[in-house]
Assembly symmetry: C2
Homo-oligomer: 309 residues x 2
Amino acid sequence: MSIRDVVVLGTASQVPTRDRAHHGALLRFDDEGILLDPGEGTQRQLTFAGLATSAITRVCITHAHGDHCLGVPGIVQRCSLDGRTDPLPIHFPEAAASTIRNLCTATPFDAVTPVELHPQQPGTVTATTGRLRIRAAELSHSLPTLGWRIEEPDGWRLDPDLASRAGVEGQDRSELLRAGAVRVDGRTVHVEEVATPRAGQSVAFVMDTRWCSGALELAEQADLLIIEATFLESERDVAEQAGHLTAAQAARLANEAGARRVVLTHLSQRYPDLDGHRAEARTAAPDLDLHVAADLDRIALPPRRDLCP
Amino acid sequence: MSIRDVVVLGTASQVPTRDRAHHGALLRFDDEGILLDPGEGTQRQLTFAGLATSAITRVCITHAHGDHCLGVPGIVQRCSLDGRTDPLPIHFPEAAASTIRNLCTATPFDAVTPVELHPQQPGTVTATTGRLRIRAAELSHSLPTLGWRIEEPDGWRLDPDLASRAGVEGQDRSELLRAGAVRVDGRTVHVEEVATPRAGQSVAFVMDTRWCSGALELAEQADLLIIEATFLESERDVAEQAGHLTAAQAARLANEAGARRVVLTHLSQRYPDLDGHRAEARTAAPDLDLHVAADLDRIALPPRRDLCP
């Protein structure tokens, strides 16, 4: 049974509170577990979430501010302590390279896990081990920042009755979906005869940023959008100056981009409760499938969309 | 009202658990707030303890392992974010200098607080701003490690009746205690005429270490001894090899040194509960005033001892 969800590890921005640990999120996508922006304390938050470091296959970081990466030393060291010999790839903006490199060796420890550092340029695509692609786009913050998009390629949804009638059974079915055609009893069956196209799923991770084209590009038709909503409209000027979004902006951006499910996170400590975020986002985009994240929430990806054939 | 206690911020060793955050302790001693070995997450633990960074006047670090200092970036950055312009002195073994320096600038932030780095040699005394002295002694771990002792000088306990009979009132009383003698009505009153000597209080902080002379020296007659008890006797070999103490060793060491109140902390995740630590320590030193620390405990210093005149 494959899992596709995001486990919210922390929802704070710069300052943690009793209710909100520093930011961290684990995107679970079948065999991949992508740790997004681990802030200080992410190692322990994994424990609260009942997850081991083995759940992490790679790390994606948006920028070098501490609340987005001070959890890196703990994660890297804990992987080694847990005896992990699988590599741990870490993706980050090129401008953050020295920061991330230093965090990986911040204090002495017995290194067992091979850490692979992947400085990233905006716009390029990072190949992954599995069927997923990872793409980065430039955001607009107070220092170089990349948002991330994780994409599964489009595929096919097999109709079992049609497939049986065409004589495609067992292994041939996965071969047909993979290769697009298969030979059965001397004739070629094409995938479109027995399957309908379905969209690959995509998840966008947008923080920290002002409203910008990069954020819109990443969020475009995303099945799940995890987006910062540090402030409310009452602090719009502060948000603009510091390079952040308000809850209303985040909701409008998600709506404009056609994102299907939206998680607001990275919430300023100045808001003891999040009623304001919910109200403001709902007013800005009433039909949005919206979640204002709480620590340790698990939010599933919505079911796959069909594609017009 | 002056406070003299230790606020336990975290009690884990290498691996945090649901119940135990990474190590951290704040020694509050009148105007001083000495943060001892802040591990990852100490910033948030302060919040759980209801304390602001302004409660910290200085930081003392025993060694460069992550569970003893990965909280430094968060504390340093948070002081600046809180607008603190008072300096933040950080004391640590000379061998840890590059690690601590790098942690103080681990990720970019707007530095407001002047951080003063004090690499320390064993045996020397660090002058402090107030009446306290800070002393370091070498411990026996897997990399260079210093334990710390915080000492108040010996002083006098004034007998108000005797002082009145000698004509010493008001300001003259504090002057007498400070200077040792005061002129009243043309004659000199010496402090020993109206006061009895009392010991200054002392607190020792011993981790990580095997049984060694440095640990005994620091713990000697300490009013409060905070000491690591990572393991139990059943893991004695592991403890010896890794440079740690068992609960029984820590209790025996405290007893042999004549420490008055003892806090066991830095507890391995392999022990889900701490009954073993309590039992083992009690057997090893039945009369010890012993606390096996839990996160967010506050343990007061015992009342001052009298000194033989």
